[in-house]
Symmetry: C2
């Protein structure tokens, strides 16, 4: 949960005078997102009104990256991907400043993220991910993935000495993962804009119909298939840490119904999934070792991703995730 | 901030089938209230829909008190006091059960609580408090004030040994307050239903127009003038701890424009204000000494109310708060 910055109704009212969204009727801090402060706004008045999300970007999001994130949402929304649309101010900008922080107003998406995803949800998210990749192909801005192999190495340097605090032997295991990944990481797969964090809490549904994707604040340019690998990690494991082949099959079939994976992508999928598991293990480990005790941000267990790493190490081909060659 | 319990979209959808408010479109935990878990709901569909607040009552609210709190909101709303209206289930009840907790759906009130109250806000809150007292006169349920003198004594017994941790000498000061209050506490002032916690974050405004009162979870039966005294403490002191006579005058004039204080109430006001300051000092002190470190609920400084206690000790008559005799 996250509301790091309180704002007064007076400063918010002043801030919103630069937008054509009506009069402010209410705002409430919402307990979602772990990086920024988010508020749900209601507006009304003769020019209409509605529900919006106000985001104050806290220090973990670099101001220089905001044009990429917000521009991407606008680009995708225009191409029919259901995602929040940044609202332009009367001066044409989408980024303002509030309480000393960069701030943006985006449209509100109805829908709920699935606490217990079903195979139907997985299929829908696979389809939506592929549509995002296709729609992002002509997005002109570029943002390298800060959390790719070199970034993982930097995180690891800050954790490795204490990694065995999580479980004895984890340090040696992960060192071996680094050796394997650095030796074999692909160099020439199809690249483009990826979401990079498409976990269930970033995908809204109304029933089993996907109503939208949110939280583009890790989006970047990288291998498209790496995004598929992250979704396998995020959507297709059960609470007991077992991989669910039905969900994997559904997610991959959904993806391929829009954008079939190339043979090279299919071949790389086990390594990409192992790399993606390492990436989430490392950020969790880092927060777990370095985060303040009793912080407002709940710490996620790095062990969950140590288990996923072990799973992917044993995978020989993407067929084991449920991939059917087209 | 407070969201103690997460709920799944499936259990919430099932829960809402007992209400006639349309299909669930979204829900978000909101960072308001310190006692319960609150969610903002959007619903829609052919039968209409709208915005609602879902409250899950956590352990600090006694289930046996819920009919009083929710019944009072319904009673007041029917008499024109703007406050949330509990939504009845199809079986006629207003209390359901969700995630193992009592739960209620109430209507959403637009408006914002004033971070920096003005004299106009104070006048409006005085008027609204008096209207609440008048409208509550025929409410049939009774709930004794658990946080009156005997309750303060119990809190104090759990704190006095460590009170000087707040500031040297506080223990002796407060012991003298208890002696003075127990000797002189009024026995026969007009009684009725009081809000008992009408702080700025429980009063919504659209501009300077009061749009509603919320959070009736401390409401009880007690001296009406005690509620006025609490509002003086809650609304009429500045951040530098100085009493603002303009605000006190406005609040009391607003109250008296609807319900003039009796001479006995006016005479008792300094003692009631001292008692009310003691009450909030004690609950803050208790939480400060006993709350978990780094808890999600922000600890409020008991010293603010030690300073208010010192102020009220020196008040000879309610005229010093700005009371004009009618």
């Amino acid at each position: 949960m996250a509301v790091y910055t309180d704002i007064t109704e007076v400063e918010l009212g002043t801030f919103l005078r630069d937008y054509d969204i009506g009069e402010l009727l209410s705002y409430k801090g919402i307990a979602e997102g772990t990086e920024n402060s988010n508020f749900i706004l209601h507006t009304g008045g003769p020019g209409g009104g509605g529900t919006f999300i106000l985001t104050l970007y806290e220090k973990r999001v670099a101001r220089a990256d905001l044009p990429f994130f917000l521009g991407l949402m606008e680009h995708l929304a225009r191409r029919g991907v259901s995602c929040p649309l940044p609202v332009r101010r009367s001066d044409g900008e989408v980024i303002g400043e509030l309480a000393g922080r960069p701030a943006a107003v985006i449209t509100f998406l109805e829908g709920m993220w699935p606490r217990r995803p079903t195979p139907a949800h997985c299929r829908a998210v696979g389809e939506a991910l592929a549509r995002l990749h296709v729609a992002g192909a002509d997005f002109p801005l570029v943002r390298p993935n800060a959390l790719s192999l070199p970034g993982w190495r930097a995180l690891w340097d800050g954790c490795r000495a204490r990694a065995d605090e999580v479980e004895a032997g984890v340090g040696a295991e992960v060192a071996a993962d680094f050796a394997a990944l650095e030796a074999a990481w692909p160099r020439a797969l199809p690249e483009g804009v990826i979401h990079a964090d498409l976990f269930p809490d970033n995908v809204f549904f109304l029933g089993e119909r996907l109503s939208g994707l949110i939280d583009f604040y890790f989006a970047c340019n990288d291998f498209l298939a790496y995004d598929v690998a992250t979704c396998l990690n995020a959507w297709c494991f059960e609470r007991d840490h077992a991989f669910n082949l039905t969900k994997g099959t559904a997610l991959l079939a959904g993806y391929q119904s829009v954008r079939p994976l190339t043979p090279a992508e299919a071949g790389a999928l086990p390594l990409l999934a192992r790399g993606s598991a390492l990436r989430f293990m490392l950020t969790r480990l880092y927060d777990w070792l370095h985060g303040p005790d009793g912080a407002l941000v709940r710490k996620r267990d790095p062990l969950e991703y140590v288990r996923k790493l072990r799973f992917h190490r044993a995978i020989a081909s993407a067929a084991e995730y449920g991939l059917k060659q087209p």
